[in-house]
Protein backbone atom coordinates (compact mmCIF):
# COMPACT_ATOMS: atom_id res chain seq x y z
CA UNK A 1 0.00 0.00 0.00
CA UNK A 2 2.79 2.36 0.97
CA UNK A 3 4.53 1.64 -2.27
CA UNK A 4 1.44 2.61 -4.19
CA UNK A 5 1.21 5.92 -2.37
CA UNK A 6 4.78 6.91 -3.22
CA UNK A 7 4.57 5.80 -6.86
CA UNK A 8 4.88 8.65 -9.29
CA UNK A 9 2.18 8.98 -11.85
CA UNK A 10 3.80 10.12 -15.02
CA UNK A 11 1.79 12.19 -17.41
CA UNK A 12 2.02 11.00 -20.97
CA UNK A 13 2.53 13.89 -23.31
CA UNK A 14 0.39 13.90 -26.42
CA UNK A 15 2.63 13.94 -29.45
CA UNK A 16 1.53 16.20 -32.24
CA UNK A 17 2.39 14.98 -35.69
CA UNK A 18 4.23 17.72 -37.53
CA UNK A 19 2.41 19.26 -40.47
CA UNK A 20 4.90 17.86 -42.98
CA UNK A 21 4.37 14.28 -41.77
CA UNK A 22 0.58 14.34 -41.69
CA UNK A 23 -1.38 12.50 -44.35
CA UNK A 24 -2.18 14.75 -47.32
CA UNK A 25 -5.83 15.25 -48.11
CA UNK A 26 -8.11 16.77 -50.71
CA UNK A 27 -11.54 18.31 -50.36
CA UNK A 28 -14.29 17.89 -52.92
CA UNK A 29 -17.38 20.05 -53.23
CA UNK A 30 -20.40 17.98 -54.26
CA UNK A 31 -23.82 19.20 -55.25
CA UNK A 32 -26.95 17.05 -54.82
CA UNK A 33 -29.38 17.72 -57.66
CA UNK A 34 -33.10 17.01 -58.05
CA UNK A 35 -34.21 16.51 -54.43
CA UNK A 36 -33.73 18.16 -51.09
CA UNK A 37 -32.04 15.71 -48.77
CA UNK A 38 -30.99 16.15 -45.19
CA UNK A 39 -27.53 15.37 -43.89
CA UNK A 40 -28.48 12.00 -42.43
CA UNK A 41 -30.08 10.70 -45.65
CA UNK A 42 -27.12 11.88 -47.70
CA UNK A 43 -24.71 10.21 -45.30
CA UNK A 44 -26.39 6.80 -45.63
CA UNK A 45 -26.95 7.02 -49.40
CA UNK A 46 -23.37 8.08 -49.90
CA UNK A 47 -21.80 5.31 -47.83
CA UNK A 48 -23.95 2.40 -49.02
CA UNK A 49 -23.29 2.93 -52.73
CA UNK A 50 -19.59 3.67 -52.32
CA UNK A 51 -19.12 0.63 -50.10
CA UNK A 52 -20.86 -1.66 -52.59
CA UNK A 53 -18.61 -0.45 -55.38
CA UNK A 54 -15.20 -0.13 -53.70
CA UNK A 55 -15.57 -2.67 -50.90
CA UNK A 56 -14.19 -2.19 -47.39
CA UNK A 57 -10.54 -2.14 -48.47
CA UNK A 58 -11.07 0.27 -51.35
CA UNK A 59 -13.11 2.65 -49.24
CA UNK A 60 -10.53 2.53 -46.44
CA UNK A 61 -7.86 3.55 -48.94
CA UNK A 62 -9.91 6.49 -50.15
CA UNK A 63 -10.85 7.36 -46.55
CA UNK A 64 -13.77 9.71 -47.33
CA UNK A 65 -15.28 11.89 -44.61
CA UNK A 66 -18.24 14.21 -44.88
CA UNK A 67 -16.89 17.46 -43.48
CA UNK A 68 -19.84 19.74 -44.10
CA UNK A 69 -23.36 19.49 -45.51
CA UNK A 70 -25.41 22.59 -46.09
CA UNK A 71 -28.21 23.37 -48.52
CA UNK A 72 -27.70 20.41 -50.87
CA UNK A 73 -23.97 21.03 -51.00
CA UNK A 74 -21.45 18.78 -49.32
CA UNK A 75 -17.74 19.02 -48.70
CA UNK A 76 -16.04 15.63 -48.62
CA UNK A 77 -12.52 15.01 -47.40
CA UNK A 78 -10.43 12.21 -48.91
CA UNK A 79 -6.86 11.03 -49.29
CA UNK A 80 -4.77 12.92 -51.82
CA UNK A 81 -4.47 11.03 -55.08
CA UNK A 82 -7.78 9.25 -54.51
CA UNK A 83 -10.07 12.15 -55.45
CA UNK A 84 -10.73 10.77 -58.93
CA UNK A 85 -11.76 7.42 -57.44
CA UNK A 86 -14.19 9.18 -55.14
CA UNK A 87 -15.64 11.26 -58.00
CA UNK A 88 -16.05 8.12 -60.10
CA UNK A 89 -17.74 6.39 -57.17
CA UNK A 90 -20.36 9.13 -56.91
CA UNK A 91 -21.68 8.00 -60.31
CA UNK A 92 -23.07 4.91 -58.58
CA UNK A 93 -25.19 6.97 -56.18
CA UNK A 94 -28.49 6.71 -57.99
CA UNK A 95 -31.11 7.07 -55.30
CA UNK A 96 -31.32 8.58 -51.85
CA UNK A 97 -34.41 7.63 -49.86
CA UNK A 98 -35.91 6.12 -53.04
CA UNK A 99 -35.65 9.43 -54.86
CA UNK A 100 -33.48 9.73 -57.94
CA UNK A 101 -30.52 12.06 -57.50
CA UNK A 102 -27.57 13.28 -59.51
CA UNK A 103 -24.37 13.99 -57.61
CA UNK A 104 -22.40 16.70 -59.36
CA UNK A 105 -18.76 17.18 -58.35
CA UNK A 106 -18.23 20.92 -58.61
CA UNK A 107 -14.70 21.60 -57.43
CA UNK A 108 -11.67 19.87 -55.90
CA UNK A 109 -9.31 21.76 -53.64
CA UNK A 110 -6.63 21.34 -51.00
CA UNK A 111 -8.38 23.61 -48.50
CA UNK A 112 -11.92 23.89 -47.18
CA UNK A 113 -11.69 27.67 -47.35
CA UNK A 114 -11.55 27.73 -51.15
CA UNK A 115 -14.56 25.46 -51.44
CA UNK A 116 -16.55 27.47 -48.90
CA UNK A 117 -15.80 30.66 -50.78
CA UNK A 118 -16.75 29.09 -54.11
CA UNK A 119 -19.99 27.63 -52.81
CA UNK A 120 -20.72 30.70 -50.68
CA UNK A 121 -21.15 28.62 -47.53
CA UNK A 122 -20.53 30.41 -44.22
Amino acid sequence: MLLLIFMKIEKVKKTITPLSKRERKRYILLEVLNVDVNEKDFYFGFWIDLLSFFGSKGLAEINPRIVLFKGNKAIIKCKRGKELDLIAGTAFIEKIRNKKVIINPVLTSGTIKTLKEYAKID
Binding site: L33, L84, D85, I87, T90, A91, E94, I102, N104, P105
Partner: protein
Protein backbone atom coordinates in the same frame (compact mmCIF):
# COMPACT_ATOMS: atom_id res chain seq x y z
CA UNK B 1 -20.22 14.89 -75.34
CA UNK B 2 -22.71 12.41 -74.00
CA UNK B 3 -24.70 9.62 -75.67
CA UNK B 4 -28.31 9.09 -74.59
CA UNK B 5 -31.39 7.32 -75.90
CA UNK B 6 -34.37 9.19 -77.35
CA UNK B 7 -36.59 10.31 -74.46
CA UNK B 8 -38.83 13.19 -73.30
CA UNK B 9 -36.89 16.24 -74.47
CA UNK B 10 -37.99 18.93 -72.04
CA UNK B 11 -36.30 17.45 -68.97
CA UNK B 12 -33.36 16.18 -70.99
CA UNK B 13 -32.60 19.64 -72.33
CA UNK B 14 -32.88 21.15 -68.86
CA UNK B 15 -30.39 18.68 -67.37
CA UNK B 16 -27.96 18.86 -70.29
CA UNK B 17 -28.07 22.66 -70.25
CA UNK B 18 -27.21 22.60 -66.53
CA UNK B 19 -24.19 20.36 -67.23
CA UNK B 20 -23.32 22.39 -70.38
CA UNK B 21 -23.13 19.14 -72.32
CA UNK B 22 -23.58 18.46 -76.03
CA UNK B 23 -25.79 15.44 -76.50
CA UNK B 24 -25.84 12.73 -79.15
CA UNK B 25 -29.31 11.17 -79.19
CA UNK B 26 -29.69 7.59 -80.36
CA UNK B 27 -32.68 7.38 -82.71
CA UNK B 28 -34.23 4.58 -84.72
CA UNK B 29 -36.77 6.44 -86.89
CA UNK B 30 -36.64 9.56 -89.04
CA UNK B 31 -39.41 11.10 -86.89
CA UNK B 32 -37.17 10.81 -83.82
CA UNK B 33 -34.31 12.25 -85.85
CA UNK B 34 -36.40 15.30 -86.76
CA UNK B 35 -37.36 15.90 -83.11
CA UNK B 36 -33.70 15.71 -82.08
CA UNK B 37 -32.60 18.06 -84.85
CA UNK B 38 -35.33 20.58 -83.91
CA UNK B 39 -33.99 20.59 -80.35
CA UNK B 40 -30.46 21.24 -81.72
CA UNK B 41 -29.22 17.84 -80.60
CA UNK B 42 -27.07 15.54 -82.71
CA UNK B 43 -29.05 12.48 -83.87
CA UNK B 44 -27.36 9.12 -84.42
CA UNK B 45 -29.10 6.11 -85.92
CA UNK B 46 -28.91 2.77 -84.13
CA UNK B 47 -28.39 -0.04 -86.64
CA UNK B 48 -27.84 -3.76 -86.27
CA UNK B 49 -27.27 -6.88 -88.36
CA UNK B 50 -31.05 -7.13 -88.83
CA UNK B 51 -31.28 -3.67 -90.49
CA UNK B 52 -32.05 -4.08 -94.23
CA UNK B 53 -29.23 -3.06 -96.58
CA UNK B 54 -31.53 -0.60 -98.36
CA UNK B 55 -31.98 1.28 -95.07
CA UNK B 56 -28.25 1.21 -94.46
CA UNK B 57 -27.62 2.84 -97.84
CA UNK B 58 -30.03 5.64 -96.95
CA UNK B 59 -28.07 6.26 -93.74
CA UNK B 60 -24.70 6.30 -95.48
CA UNK B 61 -24.03 10.00 -94.78
CA UNK B 62 -25.53 10.02 -91.28
CA UNK B 63 -24.07 9.11 -87.93
CA UNK B 64 -24.51 5.43 -87.11
CA UNK B 65 -24.13 3.45 -83.91
CA UNK B 66 -24.11 -0.30 -83.34
CA UNK B 67 -25.00 -1.92 -80.03
CA UNK B 68 -22.35 -4.60 -79.86
CA UNK B 69 -23.85 -7.26 -77.71
CA UNK B 70 -21.94 -10.13 -79.39
CA UNK B 71 -19.08 -10.84 -81.81
CA UNK B 72 -21.37 -10.61 -84.85
CA UNK B 73 -22.56 -7.10 -83.96
CA UNK B 74 -19.00 -5.96 -83.17
CA UNK B 75 -17.81 -7.15 -86.58
CA UNK B 76 -20.85 -5.48 -88.17
CA UNK B 77 -19.73 -2.14 -86.68
CA UNK B 78 -16.39 -2.58 -88.44
CA UNK B 79 -18.06 -3.63 -91.70
CA UNK B 80 -20.34 -0.58 -91.97
CA UNK B 81 -17.73 1.82 -90.53
CA UNK B 82 -20.04 2.89 -87.71
CA UNK B 83 -19.29 6.08 -85.80
CA UNK B 84 -19.97 4.48 -82.43
CA UNK B 85 -19.72 0.97 -81.06
CA UNK B 86 -21.87 0.91 -77.94
CA UNK B 87 -21.33 -1.73 -75.26
CA UNK B 88 -18.79 -3.94 -77.08
CA UNK B 89 -18.68 -6.32 -74.11
CA UNK B 90 -21.03 -7.37 -71.40
CA UNK B 91 -20.63 -10.18 -68.90
CA UNK B 92 -18.88 -12.01 -71.75
CA UNK B 93 -15.81 -10.57 -73.44
CA UNK B 94 -16.47 -9.95 -77.14
CA UNK B 95 -13.64 -7.53 -77.77
CA UNK B 96 -10.08 -8.28 -78.84
CA UNK B 97 -6.94 -6.61 -80.10
CA UNK B 98 -7.78 -7.24 -83.76
CA UNK B 99 -11.16 -5.57 -83.40
CA UNK B 100 -9.56 -2.60 -81.61
CA UNK B 101 -7.15 -2.15 -84.53
CA UNK B 102 -9.96 -2.24 -87.11
CA UNK B 103 -12.05 0.23 -85.09
CA UNK B 104 -9.05 2.53 -84.79
CA UNK B 105 -8.56 2.45 -88.59
CA UNK B 106 -12.25 3.34 -89.08
CA UNK B 107 -12.07 6.08 -86.42
CA UNK B 108 -14.94 4.41 -84.55
CA UNK B 109 -15.50 5.42 -80.93
CA UNK B 110 -15.99 2.65 -78.36
CA UNK B 111 -18.63 3.67 -75.83
CA UNK B 112 -19.38 2.27 -72.39
CA UNK B 113 -23.03 2.97 -71.63
CA UNK B 114 -23.07 3.63 -67.91
CA UNK B 115 -26.76 2.86 -67.39
CA UNK B 116 -26.21 -0.72 -68.58
CA UNK B 117 -23.59 -1.10 -65.88
CA UNK B 118 -25.92 0.37 -63.27
CA UNK B 119 -28.67 -2.11 -64.10
CA UNK B 120 -26.51 -5.12 -63.27
CA UNK B 121 -26.28 -6.78 -59.89
CA UNK B 122 -23.01 -6.69 -57.96
CA UNK B 123 -21.82 -10.04 -59.34
CA UNK B 124 -22.44 -9.11 -62.97
CA UNK B 125 -20.99 -5.66 -62.32
CA UNK B 126 -17.59 -7.07 -61.44
CA UNK B 127 -17.60 -9.09 -64.68
CA UNK B 128 -18.52 -5.97 -66.69
CA UNK B 129 -15.81 -4.01 -64.94
CA UNK B 130 -13.19 -6.69 -65.53
CA UNK B 131 -14.08 -6.89 -69.25
CA UNK B 132 -14.02 -3.13 -69.68
CA UNK B 133 -10.59 -2.84 -68.08
CA UNK B 134 -9.45 -5.22 -70.83
CA UNK B 135 -11.33 -3.21 -73.51
CA UNK B 136 -9.60 0.00 -72.39
CA UNK B 137 -6.22 -1.75 -72.41
CA UNK B 138 -6.75 -2.89 -76.02
CA UNK B 139 -8.02 0.55 -77.03
CA UNK B 140 -4.95 2.20 -75.51
CA UNK B 141 -2.64 -0.19 -77.33
CA UNK B 142 -4.23 0.46 -80.73
CA UNK B 143 -5.17 4.12 -80.25
CA UNK B 144 -8.93 3.51 -80.43
CA UNK B 145 -11.10 6.22 -78.94
CA UNK B 146 -12.93 5.18 -75.76
CA UNK B 147 -15.50 7.20 -73.86
CA UNK B 148 -17.87 6.59 -70.96
CA UNK B 149 -21.37 7.85 -71.77
CA UNK B 150 -24.49 8.04 -69.62
CA UNK B 151 -26.54 5.93 -72.06
CA UNK B 152 -29.58 7.14 -70.18
CA UNK B 153 -33.22 6.55 -71.00
CA UNK B 154 -34.21 8.92 -68.21
CA UNK B 155 -32.83 12.48 -67.84
CA UNK B 156 -32.09 11.86 -64.17
CA UNK B 157 -29.65 9.13 -65.14
CA UNK B 158 -27.38 11.58 -66.92
CA UNK B 159 -23.93 11.79 -65.35
CA UNK B 160 -21.74 14.92 -65.30
CA UNK B 161 -18.65 15.02 -67.52
CA UNK B 162 -16.21 15.07 -64.59
CA UNK B 163 -17.69 11.82 -63.29
CA UNK B 164 -17.48 10.11 -66.68
CA UNK B 165 -13.88 11.24 -67.10
CA UNK B 166 -13.05 9.85 -63.66
CA UNK B 167 -14.71 6.52 -64.57
CA UNK B 168 -12.57 6.29 -67.72
CA UNK B 169 -9.45 7.00 -65.64
CA UNK B 170 -10.51 4.32 -63.17
CA UNK B 171 -10.78 1.86 -66.09
CA UNK B 172 -7.20 2.60 -67.07
CA UNK B 173 -7.33 5.48 -69.55
CA UNK B 174 -4.96 8.37 -68.89
CA UNK B 175 -6.31 11.63 -67.49
CA UNK B 176 -5.47 13.61 -70.62
CA UNK B 177 -6.89 11.06 -73.06
CA UNK B 178 -10.21 10.72 -71.23
CA UNK B 179 -10.71 14.50 -71.49
CA UNK B 180 -9.48 14.68 -75.07
CA UNK B 181 -11.77 11.92 -76.36
CA UNK B 182 -14.87 13.42 -74.74
CA UNK B 183 -14.13 16.80 -76.32
CA UNK B 184 -13.16 15.41 -79.72
CA UNK B 185 -16.09 13.14 -80.46
CA UNK B 186 -18.80 15.73 -81.02
CA UNK B 187 -16.71 17.45 -83.74
Amino acid sequence: MDVVYAQPLKELLAVSAYFKEDLIVLVSTSAQEKVAKDAKLTPCFVVSTSTPSSDLQKLSKKKKAVVGSDLKENEFAVKIRADFLLQPSNTKQNFDLGLAKKLSDNNTVVVLMFEELMKTNSFERHQYWKNYIEVVRYCKMKGTKFVVASGAKDPLHLRPRKVREALAVLLGLSDGLSKKYLEEVIK
